[in-house]
């Protein structure tokens, strides 16, 4: 329970209308989009400025109260579940686009801006913000930075970290860091911008970000290749990369996913195929045509049943929009959806997909796999029912094996969803003892009282603080 004096002090700072304390209201901040994790917070607060955040942090430090920064609560790793109660901090009042600098091609934003609104804001200027996480129509840019989100365009354009030029961050001791700037080159000091990106709200509270923008490619073309087997599709991915083409997007969908997406979006996906690739290339029209032609040939040679090119950008956009619904569309099939994030070097996709299938069979589970094949980031998604305890046990056993295999293949335990709570058990497999200790040392240095999103990301030693 929070002390009455603490509650009063925070109300004084932000105004009582920006504080939520009623049990009903609090209940709705105990979850995010990850199944299996829940914890009730003690207070929800929406500050309006970094000054207010500094004051709140001071109170939390003195009273040892945990703070979880929360965007739209759409993350998939339990990253915003307030496991120690304490405060959930919202950015619904810090949601302004501050500056559009057309000379330096940057956009300065507050953390609560919805990611999709960024591209809407600059649409008329011929520029765009390339990162496009699957949930961008609802996720906040602050959340995306904290999770270092990826998306469909990562193969060619990279992920969030490649587009963050600078940050303003309030540290747990109240210091305000200004990292980076409107600069392409900047080697003054450690790269704290990149340290903060993907730190899941454990090292500081982001209050401002300078985003890098890019010129919109002249045009784009989308194609679909369908396959009789998942392995053949995965092989085509490796073959396309080997042919020295870097498409903007190369998405993999297995049959379970194709059917779910088609049921929802009705865009005419081939529901009888075992797998399909959805490929988009952008750039100069002539280059695109050349690339699409080469890729179509690679796919045909790779045993594709059918290769089709969307007739125009609009049709391509429709297909891409449908792909964005993959996760949620899968959720229609069964009550519980456990979405994983296994990522391997792209040359190993076929091996990973094959192993996922075998493991699903071994444990008698229903697993659909889709993902960003171009960058090796796959989302084996288990459709199950939380009420079936026996099956849930098998789900966990299966994913233990899948992650072991992922590491064997040179991969990682999370490509873009973050560690949060969900991936913590697997984290040492990837980082090793040295990696875990280095991460923990940084956490201890910047947040010695362990009040910022505690119990996430660092494993046992920091979790067992006194």
């Amino acid at each position: 329970m929070l002390k009455e004096s603490v509650i009063e002090a925070i109300k004084q700072i932000v105004g009582s209308e920006n504080v939520q304390l009623e049990e009903t209201d609090l209940y709705a901040y105990g979850y995010d989009a990850s199944p299996e994790f829940y914890h009730l917070p003690e207070m929800v607060v929406a500050p309006g400025s970094k000054e207010e955040i500094i004051q709140i942090l001071a109170i939390c430090r003195t009273n040892h109260i945990a703070i979880v920064a929360r965007g739209s609560g759409s993350n998939l790793s339990g990253g915003t579940v307030p496991v120690e109660g304490g405060l959930v901090m919202l950015f619904t009042r810090m949601n302004k686009i501050l500056e559009f600098d057309k000379q330096n091609l940057t956009l300065t934003v507050e953390p609560g801006v919805i990611t999709k609104a960024i591209n809407q804001h600059i649409a008329a200027s011929g520029l765009f913000f390339p990162p496009d996480p699957g949930s961008m129509q609802i996720s906040t840019i602050g959340g995306n930075i904290s999770e270092n989100s990826g998306g469909l365009r990562a193969l060619k354009y990279g992920v969030i970290k490649d587009y963050i030029l600078g940050l303003e961050v309030v540290l747990s001791n109240g210091d305000v860091l200004q990292t980076g700037g409107k600069l392409t080159k900047d080697v003054a000091g450690l790269d704290l911008t990149q340290l903060m990106v993907g730190s899941e709200g454990t090292l500081g509270i982001i209050t401002k970000a300078i985003l890098k923008l890019m010129p919109v490619p002249e045009t784009n073309k989308t194609m679909i290749a369908t396959y009789r087997s998942m392995e053949a599709a995965a092989q085509s991915v490796s073959d396309i990369i080997a042919a020295k083409i870097t498409p903007a997007t190369m998405e993999f969908l297995d049959q379970v996913t194709i059917k779910a997406v088609e049921d929802f979006a009705h865009v005419g996906l081939p529901t009888d195929a075992a797998a399909m690739l959805l490929i988009q290339q952008d750039g100069h029209p002539r280059e695109i045509d050349e690339d699409i032609k080469t890729m179509a040939k690679v796919c045909r040679d790779g045993d594709a049943i059918d290769v089709q090119v969307a007739k125009d950008e609009a049709e391509g956009a429709k297909l891409m929009a449908a792909r964005r619904t993959a996760l949620s569309a899968l959720a229609r099939v069964k009550p519980t959806t456990i979405l994983e994030d296994a990522t391997v070097p792209r040359s190993e996709i076929a091996a990973l997909v094959k192993f996922v299938n075998e493991t699903a069979k071994k444990y008698n589970l229903y697993i659909g796999t889709f993902g960003h094949a171009g960058d090796g980031n796959m989302h084996p998604t288990c459709l199950t029912d939380l009420r079936d305890e026996d099956e849930i046990k098998r789900v966990h056993l299966a994913f233990d094996e899948i992650y072991q295999k992922t590491i064997e293949l040179g991969g990682t335990v999370t490509g873009e969803h973050g560690v949060g709570l969900a991936k913590l058990p697997y984290l040492p497999w990837k980082l090793g003892r040295a990696g875990m200790r280095a991460d923990q040392a940084i956490k201890k240095a910047l947040d010695p009282d362990n009040i910022l999103n505690p119990q996430k990301l660092y494993g046992e030693e920091v979790m067992n603080h006194d």
């Binding site: 209308e17 009903t24 209940y27 709705a28 949930s135 129509q137 959720a331 009550p335 009420r387």
Partner: protein, 445 residues
């Protein structure tokens, strides 16, 4: 506060009556948040979002959370506009969940007195009875025509009534004008009868009484498009208000009565011009799904239900040469027409077809206006907050002349909004049918 005994009853009712599979279907992706008017109006409170409400309903059903007064508020303030359902990729049947929850709270919550009075007056006492509604319409007409309304306003008599009734009084349609028969009654079909359809017109309760002028205009438009229109006698209210208020048995009886009447008609379509009714008519099979005798009849009925704008487009109304002097308009979707019936393009196609008309979409156009059945009567404050947001978007359109609506509730709510914003002299609220008829009359001059 809700009494402990009733809290236990409410918890048990949630446990027994809410469909667990439907609750679990929500995977909390949050795609619904930006579409929810109450989430936005509450200043982005998760407990006032569809995702939050589903989590809370499940928590109460599971006994993890008490159904306290705040819980009651969050459920009651849901508009049931179903904008969330339209964007939900997981296919959560939110409408069914929230309606059942509302019904449980209605049954067990001791303090919803005002709502109970309004509901028993309207849902049970008024809407199912065409005779009584006509009486109200006649009285309203007399009230407005006789100068009584002016007198009442002068004496500020309405201030003595609860805010909710004041609200209702202020937004009544001008029934007198509406009951006046059209001067030119003998409209001949303007379109060669190649695509002639025989259609039965579903009158609806409010539309058939207070808004009967709009209905007759709609029927004339159908005739202009070459349709043969019949209006079956003894048809009654669609039952939507009863259904959404959780009075399922009453709603079922009303559905059965309408099915009985319309299934004997030899028609191609059953046409209606109010989004709220259409959605209900289309969902008769859901309402009667547990009755093997009625289900096929309900399915046959709902398969014939067609939106007025949709049938006008299908019957080539857009081939009529129509024009108006330069006019700037905006279109306020009916939530149920948009989210349940899935009609959005057709009314816009009709409006844009009229030469001289510039259709300007308001920002966040898909957002509910706050009318939502009897919501603006039982939750006047919340409805007003939502209406204020809507009016900000509307007044942002420069030199707007008309707000076109597709449902009687929206019509009244938008009228209230225009009234509160003090822009009655600049902006007029009209039904789609009335606006199209303006264009027809102007074009024939």
């Amino acid at each position: 506060m809700t009494k402990r005994s009733s809290q236990i009853e409410i918890q048990q009712a949630f446990d027994q009556r809410l469909d667990r599979d439907k609750l679990l279907q929500c995977m909390r992706c949050g795609f619904c948040l930006p579409t929810c008017p109450t989430y936005i109006a509450s200043g982005y409170k998760e407990s006032h979002s569809p995702r939050g409400r589903i989590a809370l309903m499940k928590a109460v059903a599971d006994g993890e959370k008490k159904p306290d007064e705040d819980f009651y508020r969050t459920i009651e303030t849901c508009l049931d506009c179903r904008a969330c359902e339209a964007v939900c990729p997981s296919g959560v049947e939110y409408g069914e969940l929230i309606e059942e929850a509302k019904q449980i709270l209605f049954e067990y919550h001791k303090e919803s007195r005002q709502e109970k009075i309004i509901r028993s007056m309207t849902v049970r006492g008024l809407f199912p009875h065409p005779g009584r509604l006509n009486f109200v319409a006649d009285f309203t007409s007399f009230y407005q025509r006789s100068g009584l309304q002016k007198l009442a306003h002068g004496l500020r008599i309405m201030n003595l009534f609860p805010t909710s009734l004041q609200t209702m009084e202020a937004v009544l349609p001008n029934v007198h004008a509406y009951k006046k028969p059209l001067a030119n009654a003998a409209y001949q079909p303007l379109i060669p009868a190649v695509k002639k359809y025989r259609v039965a017109f579903f009158e609806g309760c409010l539309m058939g009484s207070m808004f009967q002028h709009v209905n007759s205009t709609s029927k004339k438009l159908l005739e202009l498009a070459g349709c043969e229109v019949i209006s079956p006698k003894n048809q009654i209210c669609c039952g939507a208000l009863a259904d959404h208020s959780g009075e399922k048995d009453l709603a079922r009886k009303m559905a059965q009565k309408n099915i009985e009447i319309f299934e004997t008609m030899d028609v191609d379509f059953i046409v209606n011009n109010a989004g709220g009714c259409e959605a209900e008519l289309i969902e008769y099979p859901r309402l009667l799904k547990d009755d093997p005798d009625w289900l096929p009849r309900a399915e046959a009925f709902s398969a014939k239900v067609k939106d007025l704008a949709a049938i006008l487009v299908q019957a080539d109304f857009t081939k009529l040469p129509l024009s108006l002097p330069t006019t700037r308009i905006t279109y306020q979707d009916s939530c149920h027409q948009l989210n349940v019936v899935n009609v959005a393009k057709e009314p816009r196609a009709l409006l844009q077809h009229v030469q001289g008309v510039e259709l300007v979409e308001m920002e966040e156009r898909v957002s509910c206006c706050g009318s939502a059945g009897i919501y603006n009567m039982v939750e006047p404050e919340a409805a007003n907050e939502i209406l204020d947001i809507k009016m900000q978007k509307i007044t942002a359109i420069p030199e707007l002349q008309y707000i076109i609506t597709a449902n009687p509730g929206c019509f009244m709510q938008m009228n209230l909004g225009v009234h509160q914003a003090g822009i009655e002299n600049k902006v007029q609220v009209l039904s789609l049918s009335d606006f199209l008829m303006l264009a027809v009359d102007y074009s024939q001059k």
